[in-house]
């Protein structure tokens, strides 16, 4: 059943490519030559294909079934998008080609930027961030630069961050030299406004706030406009974590809420495939106040209709905070996201948000009698439960693993931290009612067993490609690469 590692099945003399024989000319290397062989194993193509096909069968995926991983927004990845990204005119162009030879690429970036700006009602978007957390970095660096431009770069260092924030928020703030000041959630799962007001009694050290909306409890921040007003009044900026934009896209424009910066995870809202852990893409929309500090490069359309890249920090970009990455961002993801956006249109994107929210509320409604809803009232795109309903000894982890045996990917576990044993279920808009009904039936049955203290849950999963894995062991004495068994120096046959 187990598939061996390539190091166990390949040899360093085998190769799955047929290259012309080199002439072994190394004359211009100046003797800077590798001495230690890599020892890397090769496989013939049939062996290589089979290795990866077999390994793939040990994965679960959205193409195979329901994947309600809260906050991660696992929706259908249309195959048209893959096809488009592979057009030679997109997939096979070099980031440093003369700009005259990549006008279509620049136009595409501009077109996607226009959509993002219009959907958010924000005047500028930085396209180069490589992922959501990188987009946070872009936004916070823009805030930092704006404060420096105001001469307050050294004094305003405090960033307010709710306890329910994604871990990336505080981490990003720190990466930008800020200090994190935590705000608690109130009983309704929103920002505790009293605490916020208290935190803003002193204003001269306030850089801004990082707030997720809809927040990580799956709730819309009711007081968001007041929060924006308060932070602006305190001289700070409002960073909105846009990870959950999927719930409001096409229905609510963050620019209308007073946001100064917000990253958009293209894979969450616009369905670029997550590929088992990336790549992401995190374009960051910016308010008029922050736009001048946006990173280079960016695309501008000239009056003659020609697109150009602003790469240097002069002219239009003289106030830019600088360059975040080598090239122009995740072009491959831009193509996919635009294909998705054009396919839906403004009407379809509104429906996306509504169906995502409808699906989540449906799950919440169907399960509220057997599980413990974390908060009252309607949720947005994800339903959040605490583990209060479980019997002693049964925890969220057990329920998650039991779902695997029922043929589902588990929900997000233990996040947000503000809810005990949190279970965050995000169905997304691309699931059918039939799927939700089946899932709810399965989860209901597991929840009942959890409530009754069914000990067999502790052993789950029983039917997965692997049984429960020992994570403690992995961390205690990390084995991070394959090592040849004693006596073998290179890969074995």
């Amino acid at each position: 059943q187990a598939e061996g590692l390539i190091f166990e099945i390949g040899t360093s003399e085998t190769t799955g490519v047929d290259l012309p024989a080199p002439k072994n000319r190394t004359g211009r290397l100046g003797g800077v030559a590798r001495k230690v062989p890599t020892g890397l194993p090769g496989l013939s193509e049939p062996e290589m294909v089979r290795h990866y096909m077999r390994l793939s069968q040990r994965n679960y995926a959205i193409d195979l079934g329901f994947f309600p991983l809260g906050s991660c927004t696992m929706k259908h990845n249309p195959r048209l998008n893959e096809k488009m990204a592979r057009l030679p005119g997109f997939g096979d162009i070099h980031p440093m080609q003369p700009q005259a030879t990549v006008q279509g690429a620049l136009e595409l970036i501009d077109e996607l930027a226009t959509w993002l700006k219009t959907l958010t009602n924000m005047p500028f978007v930085a396209m180069s961030p490589k992922a959501g957390a990188h987009g946070e970095l872009a936004g916070m660096l823009a805030i930092r630069q704006a404060l420096i431009a105001r001469g307050e770069g050294e004094t305003r260092k405090r960033v307010l961050v709710p306890a329910s924030a994604h871990g990336t928020n505080p981490a990003t703030a720190v990466q930008c030299g800020f200090e994190v000041d935590e705000i608690k959630a109130n009983a309704r799962g929103r920002v505790d406004m009293d605490m916020l007001r208290a935190k803003l009694e002193r204003t001269d050290d306030v850089a801004g706030i990082m707030l997720t909306n809809p927040n990580t409890c799956g709730l819309f921040e009711t007081d968001i406009k007041e929060i924006a007003d308060l932070i602006h009044a305190a001289g700070g900026y409002f960073y909105c974590d846009g990870a959950n934009f999927n719930a409001i896209v096409g229905r609510v424009r963050p620019g209308d809420l007073g946001v100064d910066a917000m990253h958009i995870n293209l894979h969450k809202t616009f369905s670029t495939p997550h590929g088992g852990g990336g790549p992401g893409s995190g374009p960051t929309v910016l308010s008029q106040a922050l736009a001048p500090y946006a990173p280079v490069p960016f695309v501008v359309k000239n009056e003659d209709g020609v697109y150009s890249l602003v790469e240097d920090m002069d002219g239009e970009a003289s106030e830019s905070f600088g360059r975040m990455v080598a090239f122009h961002g995740q072009m491959g993801m831009f193509v996919r996201a635009l294909a998705y956006i054009l396919s839906h249109g403004a009407d379809g994107l509104k429906q996306v948000a509504e169906d995502a929210v409808l699906n989540a509320n449906y799950i919440a409604a169907k399960l509220k009698h057997v599980m413990t809803p974390a908060f009252e009232g309607y949720c947005m795109h994800e339903a959040l439960f605490s583990d209060a309903f479980t019997a002693d000894g049964i925890e969220t982890l057990d329920i998650a693993k039991a779902l695997i045996d029922e043929g589902y990917h588990p929900m997000t576990m233990y996040f947000p931290l503000v809810v005990h044993g949190a279970m965050l279920i995000e169905p997304t808009e691309t699931e059918s009612k039939a799927t939700l009904d089946q899932f709810c039936a399965s989860l209901e049955s597991i929840a009942r067993r959890a409530a009754q203290g069914d000990e067999t849950l502790k052993g789950a999963p029983y039917l997965a490609p692997a049984r429960r894995l020992d994570e403690t062991r992995a961390a205690r004495k990390p084995v991070l690469k394959w090592t040849a068994p004693e006596g073998e120096t290179v890969a074995a046959e």
Partner: protein, 447 residues
């Protein structure tokens, strides 16, 4: 709409179960002033697949693809051949449409390939350990700099003058945001060794590149020694992963951290992204590494399995104490890298590297024969800089008209330097003798 399975009947039935009248009910918390009457204004409605495909194909057709003629652009991204089976692997549903392997029992496919990837990167760079990939080479470089400062508790980062300027910019940005000092040595075609002179007692790390932005390959062992003498770290950078099949790898030079771009192996040019950042270091630094790591363990039945590990370094556990804010890797590109590397093996990689070097040698020979052209890179792998008797921008434009994409002008990379007559060009296994002949002939016409 084709991606939305709910029918209107479904929606009605579901609203009834929920006890809501319409979707509007769910948006009751949205401030009045931000509630849109209808859909977002100023944007078109949905389109069918044919229409979308046509629109995007039209945009794509406005770009000249690297395979459509003689093409010599490098400078941090390289045109290599990718076997069809590699793309097939990354298009496999189970790899393409899954998430970060948070539930290892149903993600062993992703996890095992990451474990294999880490092992391959460690072997390629001749380092002890590697992580499960970064966004790209430039961000990996920036993370290496701040990591070095964390490790040494020092605040000074020294960048060589041969470091890719985009890498230097990204590194400077992150360092300065964290209050770290960045010293950038003068831009130089062959100046990596200057790092050895520059390192001092305050230095957290020196960052050198081989092959560097001008293509120059250098054995930086002496730089490593000088850094270690001052208890600083040596960070070794590369932008062309194929080079490591032939030139001295970071580990052989004594690097503490090796970072680079993995695009050359398995990942298409794609106008600059997504790419795959490689990040490796010595065993003793592993707990200071940024990014995701996959480790071996066993399951409840005692069978070998893999999990994400050492996540206590990461933001989702450590939050503001994390080693980095990075929350994703470049998983699918890492898969492409590892799948291509698995096809290559040691022999294939070495042959590939040789073919690249030989193509570049042939190109250098042909260009050198053009009167007025001077190769300025003393030792190179598959990329070098040359000086023309004319303005490089003009030369490239004329080459373009002749159907040859001749490279990158140094003035685009270093606008502040006086390098108006320098072109940086690369050759790979995709470069044909006809391509080289076309380049030389066109250049001869021009200069």
């Amino acid at each position: 709409m084709r991606y939305l399975p709910l029918t209107d009947d479904d929606r009605k039935a579901m609203l009834k179960v929920i006890g809501a009248k319409s979707a509007d009910d769910f948006y009751g918390d949205v401030p009045e002033s931000a509630r849109l009457g209808g859909q977002v204004a100023g944007l078109p409605d949905h389109q069918g697949e044919l229409a979308v495909e046509r629109h995007l194909s039209k945009l794509a057709a406005k770009n000249r693809s690297a395979s459509s003629g003689p093409f010599f652009v490098g400078a941090g991204a390289y045109k290599h051949h990718i076997p069809a089976s590699v793309d097939m692997v990354i298009q496999r549903s189970e790899f393409l449409t899954t998430y970060t392997p948070y539930q290892p029992e149903i993600a062993q496919g992703t996890l095992q390939t990451l474990f294999e990837f880490q092992t391959q990167v460690a072997a390629l760079t001749a380092m002890d350990v590697a992580n499960a990939s970064m966004y790209d080479g430039s961000t990996a470089c920036a993370e290496a700099a701040v990591m070095a400062c964390r490790v040494t508790r020092r605040k000074k980062v020294i960048l060589s003058g041969g470091l890719h300027p985009h890498y230097a910019a990204a590194t400077r940005l992150l360092c300065e945001a964290q209050g770290l000092e960045v010293v950038h040595l003068p831009v130089a075609v062959d100046g990596e060794m200057a790092l050895a002179e520059a390192v001092d007692d305050q230095t957290a790390c020196v960052i050198g590149q081989s092959p560097n932005i001008f293509g120059t390959v250098t054995d930086l062992s002496a730089v490593a020694d000088a850094a270690h003498e001052k208890k600083a770290l040596f960070v070794s950078v590369f932008t062309e992963a194929v080079a490591l099949g032939l030139v001295t790898p970071p580990g052989e030079m004594g690097a503490d951290i090796a970072v680079g771009e993995g695009q050359s192996i398995g990942v298409p040019l794609g106008f600059g992204g997504p790419y795959v950042g490689l990040f490796a270091c010595t065993e003793k630094l592993v707990r200071q590494m940024p990014g995701r790591l996959c480790g071996e363990t066993v399951d409840a039945d005692g069978k070998r399995g893999f999990v994400l590990t050492l996540s206590t370094r990461e933001q989702h556990i450590r939050r503001d104490k994390a080693t980095s804010n990075i929350c994703t890797n470049s998983g699918l590109c890492a898969l492409a890298f590892t799948a291509h590397m698995t096809l290559l093996g040691d022999k294939g990689l070495r042959d590939l590297a040789l073919l690249n070097h030989e193509a570049a040698c042939d190109l250098a020979d042909a260009l050198e024969a053009v009167p007025g052209v001077e190769i300025v890179t003393p030792r190179f792998f598959n990329e070098f800089a040359f000086r023309t008797p004319m303005n490089a921008e003009a030369v490239l434009a004329m080459l373009d008209e002749a159907g040859v994409v001749g490279g990158v002008r140094a003035s685009r990379l270093f606008p502040a330097e006086h390098m108006g007559d320098v072109i940086i060009c690369a050759a790979t296994e995709c470069t044909t003798p006809e391509d080289i002949a076309a380049y030389a002939a066109a250049l001869k016409e021009i200069v």
